[in-house]
């Protein structure tokens, strides 16, 4: 059992009427990792996640969650996963602590409820009905519900949407704690920064398929190149600089005294540029390295047009 990946989705197909929401999607999530599931609206993220949670029956392909089939082995699977729904799923008049305590009662070895409330900044609103909680508090209560049963695998649907920066960082710390304690996390998000901060793996989905998957730094390295800019004396001997740099690197003086290098910008390249400057008596100024962000990669892969 422990050898199986936390999540194995192969060739998943899901149709709604004549619309294909998921079109042969493959995704593997290793145990104990945090995977960010990114994609434009309508890309098939929610359908995929809800199929893994057992809400939807696949029209094709196979889904194994903790080695189990979510449809036929749901009763065995459900106690082992934690689910955070975007829509909350809490009755408006239900009180925060009562709701969390109830979910704890449905599990064999739940977390300590007051400690979890405290950790998520809900300590002072235990008796507040759900509808009177702020948007951020509602969001954190939904997160607490996903965690209270001490699951092996949690599905978090946009866990920081609508949170202020403090609450967002607290939630990130919590996800890091989960990972440190060996919990597998699959999170869908639109925040690229969140994906870069938290995840071991990023899977970008579009048109019902995973179109790129890998660690965030690897995804950012591939494809288009990075840029190094600096300012110095006008008219530097760029061909001599390029001789010192790896082939494939390009250099240009954009306007007098302002230089741009493109290529694989790594510490070695930076060292070479500064030592060449030293040999030539140039003091490089305003050195800046621009690496591609995950957002750049995401927009390159999924295009810039707005989705419905």
């Amino acid at each position: 059992m422990q050898s199986a990946a936390a999540l194995e989705v192969a060739g998943l197909v899901k149709r709604y009427g004549d619309k294909t929401a998921v079109d042969g999607l493959d995704l593997t999530v290793e145990r104990g990792t945090v995977t960010a599931f990114l994609g434009p609206n309508g890309a098939g993220k929610t359908t995929t996640v809800e199929t893994c949670e057992g809400y939807r029956r696949p029209d094709g392909g196979t889904v194994r969650v903790l080695g189990l089939d979510p449809v036929t082995q749901g009763s065995e699977l459900r106690p082992r996963i934690g689910v955070m729904l975007q829509s909350g799923g809490i009755y408006p008049t239900a009180r925060a602590e009562e709701t969390l305590r109830h979910m704890a009662t449905l599990h064999a070895h739940p977390l300590d409820v007051p400690a979890l409330m405290e950790r998520l900044g809900l300590g002072s609103c235990g008796r507040t009905p759900y509808r009177r909680l702020s948007g951020g508090q509602q969001q954190r209560l939904a997160l607490a519900l996903a965690l209270v049963g001490r699951p092996e695998l949690v599905f978090l649907d946009e866990p920081t949407a609508g949170l202020d920066p403090q609450a967002r960082h607290a939630t990130w710390d919590l996800v890091r704690d989960l990972r440190a304690d060996g919990v597998t996390v699959l999170l869908t998000t639109h925040h690229m920064e969140e994906a870069e901060e938290l995840s071991d793996e990023v899977a970008i989905v579009d048109g019902g398929k995973v179109i790129a998957q890998g660690p965030p730094d690897v995804l950012c390295k591939g494809g288009a190149e990075n840029t190094l800019r600096f300012a110095g004396r006008p008219g530097l001997d760029l061909p001599s600089l390029l001789k010192a740099l790896p082939t494939g690197t390009e250099a240009a003086e954009l306007h007098p005294g302002s230089y741009r290098l493109t290529g694989t910008v790594d510490p070695q390249l930076l060292a070479t540029v500064t030592s060449w400057c030293a040999q030539n008596g140039v003091l490089p100024d305003r050195i800046s390295v621009e690496r591609r962000t995950l957002e750049d990669v995401f927009l390159e892969l999924t295009g810039k047009e707005l989705r419905s």
Binding site: G89, R150, E152, Q166, D181, G182
Partner: protein
Amino acid sequence: MSGRAAAGTYAPEPGAAPLPRMVRAQAWLETRTQLRNGEQLLLTVIIPTLLLVLFSAVDIVDTGEGSRVDFLAPGILGLAVLSTAFTGQAISTGFERRYGVLKRLGASPLPRWGLMAAKTCSVLVIEALQVLLLSVVALALGWSPHGNPATVLLLLLLGTAAFSGLGLLMAGTLKAEATLAGANLVFILLLVGGGVIVPLDTFPDAAQSALRLLPISALSDGLRDVLRQGAGMPWGDLAVLVVWAVVGLGAAARFFKWE
């Protein structure tokens, strides 16, 4: 809400609670939610009590021979079952579906049939409280019940099954707002046309034979035969309730949509 937790705080230790504990917890939560809800209390407690007191004290409808409370109390007990098993359950379940509560519970260790068992327990607990309260009020008004309590219990349970099926069918197929309006409308129509406070023999003959097939008519008529006249098993009324229970629960099981 900052800082990192001690290592191991979130170490996985998954598992479902024992099934009886889950059902008990769910039933208790549902019962509390119902008892906290003012609109539901109006429907399940205040309206039946008011009708019982008002129509017992004032001679508004002709209830035939005998004391008015002896006619009214069985009908009001039927109304109590209608208000909780049908109207209350339809409205609360309809809104649970709309707010995603049912969806969220669908990913919890509580199985669907466990949820349904809990809802049934909660309905029975509320009905027990209603019957207790209404019986005390009726006795204070001079009610003298007859008959076998076991027969009364059987009628109440079959009525609960019939109304639960119809209530869940409504909650699981219509929008929450439509369920809210529809369940209240049905409550009023059945209150008037189901022999609860108005005897069915005051309706024209053709209407009477149709109205007698309503579950509320079978329940109030059966209860009245036993409690007022001390009759034995009211087989006809029991048969009508069984048919409604089978049809209602069967259709609910077939057509209920969880999301």
